[in-house]
């Protein structure tokens, strides 16, 4: 049953995952944390950090991790394969269908229209991780170090395009000394 659920979840994400790894991250979060409750919100944050710091596509990393924690080695292979399955099917159909200019322009315009919605999707994923499980010292009358980390990382990432791996490492060091 868990295998069927993993297959269904990741095939769905493979079909609807427009706009890169972060867009898929929000789909994965909804299924894994909210819908099936396979993971807590802190597990999810830890998983994203680990997937971000390791080489390879972040969505494959997430699929492997989710599959492994829910159903072991078999689950991890199944989840990664399920994520690729729609792409495999598409190679044969889309290649012939969309390699002409007219339909390609249509696809591009569609994706342009999708972008604002996908941005909202990703923002919602970030918002729903803003809770006291991930911000342990929030509202407890102590120094709000977690809020400080979040704001600083946001500024460094948004304005200065700082390397995310470096930011994760620095935050880990701050956490080690602060908590």
């Amino acid at each position: 049953m868990i295998y069927l659920q993993l297959l269904w979840v990741f095939v769905k994400i493979g079909v609807l995952g427009f706009g890169g790894g972060y867009a898929m991250l929000s789909l994965i979060q909804h299924e894994v944390v909210d819908h099936y409750a396979w993971m807590s919100t802190t597990d999810f944050a830890d998983m994203v950090a680990i997937s971000q710091m390791t080489p390879g596509p972040i969505s494959i990393n997430l699929a492997t991790y989710v599959g492994y924690t829910t159903a072991g080695l078999g689950g991890s292979l199944l989840a990664s394969f399920a994520l690729c399955l729609p792409s495999i099917i598409m190679v044969y159909f889309i290649l012939k269908l969309f390699m002409n200019q007219k339909s390609n322009a249509l696809m591009e315009n569609t994706l342009k229209g999708l972008k604002p919605a996908i941005a909202g999707l990703i923002f919602a994923a970030g918002l729903s991780m803003m809770n006291t499980q991930n911000f342990v010292d929030f509202g407890r009358g102590q120094n709000n170090i977690s809020v400080v980390i979040c704001v600083l990382v946001f500024v460094a990432s948004y304005f200065f395009k700082a390397n995310p791996i470096l930011l994760i490492v620095i935050s880990g060091v701050i956490g080690f000394f602060a908590y």
Partner: protein
Amino acid sequence: MKKALQLFLTFFRIGAFTLGGGYAMLSLVEKAVVDQKKWIPTDEFWDMIAVVQSLPGVFAVNTALYVGHRVAGTKGAFAAMLGAIIPSIVIILLLATVFREYRDQPVVERIFKGIRPCVVALILAPSLRMIKSAKVSWKTAIIPIAAVFLIWWCKISPAYVILAAIAGSLIYAVIINRRETARLRDYETSRSPEVPKSRSQNEKEAES
């Protein structure tokens, strides 16, 4: 078969050493596939990437599949895809096993208490950058706001939001396309009678 093996090794190497996901990988793929192996000409490669970018799914996997398919058919597609994902799967499996073992250690817990708020910021930042790059105006700002409201507040699955957005932007794209072709037609019809007229005028001027 030899080509399939080479494809596997090429994408394996790129998959094992590229941090930062699909787009970071792209220049390495170009270097290997276009410059070194000369499997695909440069312009054909970028035409292909333009199509692959607008497809759903994992960008790195899609790129591997299309390059592999173009170079060595079905065998090539699977070889390149496996090369692109196997390093990820192996590394994550190793890390997940280790992490499961040590996560309850107080030291690890302290480190991750610092990392979690960082992850939240790392998710929020690219979404706002995306809004900026999509040139969202005050009029179209309703789209991301509605998406956030539906998913975060109403707990509606992002899958439905994407489906609705696809439907909306497909209609929009069709209208845009039709408008553009109509404009092109108008432009051509408005221009064509002028051409002989101006030519005859020129001829008259030349005669006089």
